[in-house]
Point group: C2
Chain length 334, copies 2
DNA sequence: CTGAAAGCGCTTACAG
DNA sequence: CTGAAAGCGCTTACAG
């Protein structure tokens, strides 16, 4: 292994001179030495040892991405996309990305500390543990899509409530009055709760409240589809709180002889790539995942540069993407 | 920050004693000291410094996952899934996963060396650079889905050729004779070439060779769909070398007024989650991504434990999953 | 079972 | 512009 010492010996200078050149502190070194040392670095293929650097300078150049769930959270295209963008952006800034799948929040601290992570970005629902995580780790922590009563925390999220409002509004505009909601993880995820609340509040305000038994939290999608089909009355419109849920629903309804949008109109949430390719193409609430990732990383580096800044959260906008999964019901004049 | 020294002072023992306890070398320490030291570790919330450990012991406990492409390679559900499984498995063994998106293979060495990665798993097409990467890095390197003329390299792949054979066989069995192939990255990816070769060889052997102009390498999918529709003759069956390609094709054909399977029968490759939910559900060649990830990680640790083992590659099996995207053509007896 | 010494490869802080 | 010294927090190798 080639070390600073090797370069120094070869160049006939001190280790410090080489260190300065490696770190581009060129104004502290004569041009002659810069040239000589760089040539030798090149020749010997010197690569700095990051762990030594981390130990002595107390800066690791590591950013951790903490993802909730240990059973392949990448099966979610949303997580996969966010992670992909985040890693790209971290790299582009010359930092290294360490990824951790976490179930037990106590693991978070262990991991962040042992590698001296300079900051962390969280994907998933950490709502309950945000306070504790923050107390244990005095580095910039960027949460995404979190809702928490903690006053000071940095969150990059979207306007989930508005998404629900838009979905309900679109159904109402198209003549729908009998609604159902399919909301995975409803009881644990405030994000899902917000989407559902936006939807239900809007429907109720228009005089068409969603009965509680029409709000389904799937145990699995097969079972939820059965429950949906078994609902009394004549539900014509279904709001699925995630696209993954919506896409599977289309296929499962089809298996039961029901068509979207003929039998059920459907609106999803997220605007994943596949939503455009389903049949029918899915009308959905779009969020811009690339933008969200960029905000998360930019915000993190913002705090890395100035840790005294006040905690500032970001709420990104959402919009309705109209495709083919909502049918218009023409009602007789009353 | 709490260090070994702090624990040692508090316990009235040497730093070495604490180090032994931390590393569970219990047979080298009296029970009395074990108990005392563990209690203090607990009380002070000691977390070992990984960079110090890496520097002094020359073992980092880091495994790098190198993924080809810098423009969000996670947009590919295949990559996302593999990465997810791989990270889970690396973690489960008490190692840390560092993820790097790479375009320039020279970056690989820089990254692996600077963090003293103990091993690496590669996703993507590194075929051309495998030899160089291996020469530069004397650690276990596990490639996936690679084809290379390098004699000694470890690859975890699937039987891509057989996948093509199965697809062609299924079409033939269902009465198809006029074929087209859509193969993204055909000219750069030997993996795709294998799939196509298996398909074309089988068709040709049955007397229904695929004309070269029927083998389409898409620039983008819109354009490829146009080219497919414009083909002379009466193509009835299309082999898409990836599911992503197949799913988009279904939707793009529909926009042009052509139905799958009525106008074109279609077989994909990979059996991604969404293949089951497309309309029609996609007949495809299945590979087991979880299994492939497991082999990759198991093989890596195998070599970590005994670096003298000979390079051994693994070829996993594939199978045809019949769904609804292939129609049977009944031909008049001749 | 226990501990003092040296060293991993780098940076910080200082003196010149 | 240059370099000698000390130290980051741990482990290795050795002596007892």
């Amino acid at each position: 292994m080639v070390t600073l010492k090797d370069i120094a010996r070869e160049a006939g200078v001190s280790v410090m001179m080489v260190s300065r050149v490696v770190n581009r502190r060129y104004n502290e070194v004569s041009q002659e030495n810069i040239d000589k040392i760089q040539a030798i670095i090149q020749k010997l293929g010197y690569i700095p040892d990051s762990s030594a650097r981390s130990l002595s300078s107390n800066s690791s150049k590591i950013i951790s991405v903490i993802i909730q769930g240990i059973d392949n959270p990448m099966a979610s295209p949303y997580n996969a996309n966010m992670l992909g963008h985040i890693i790209s952006l971290i790299q582009a800034r010359g930092y290294n990305a360490m990824v951790h799948f976490i179930d037990d929040y106590a693991e978070v601290t262990k991991h962040l500390r042992s590698w001296k992570s300079e900051g962390a970005i969280f994907l998933g629902t950490f709502d309950e543990n945000i306070r504790q995580i923050q107390e244990d780790n005095q580095i910039p922590l960027i949460f995404t899509d979190s809702y928490s009563s903690v006053r000071q925390f940095i969150n990059i999220g979207i306007d989930d409530y508005k998404g629900g409002v838009l979905a309900a509004g679109h159904f109402l505009k198209n003549g729908h009055r009998d609604f159902a909601v399919i909301a995975p993880h409803l009881h644990v995820s405030q994000l899902i709760q917000q989407r559902v609340a936006g939807f239900c509040d809007t429907a109720a305000r228009a005089g068409f409240a969603v009965p509680p038994e029409h709000i389904l939290e799937p145990y699995d999608f097969e079972e939820a589809t059965d429950r949906l089909c078994a609902l009394r009355g004549t539900v014509t419109a279904v709001f699925a709180a995630t696209d993954i849920c919506a896409i599977q629903l289309i296929s499962l309804l089809k298996k039961r002889g029901r068509q979207v949008p003929e039998d059920y109109s459907l609106i999803g949430f997220d605007n994943l790539l596949y939503s455009a390719f389903s049949t029918p193409a899915l009308t959905t609430i779009a969020q811009n995942i690339g933008q969200k990732a960029r905000y998360a990383v930019d915000t993190l580096f913002h705090y890395l540069e100035d840790s005294s800044l006040p905690a500032r959260s970001v709420v990104l906008d959402v919009e309705l993407i109209e495709r083919d999964s909502v049918k218009t019901i023409v009602r007789p004049q009353t």
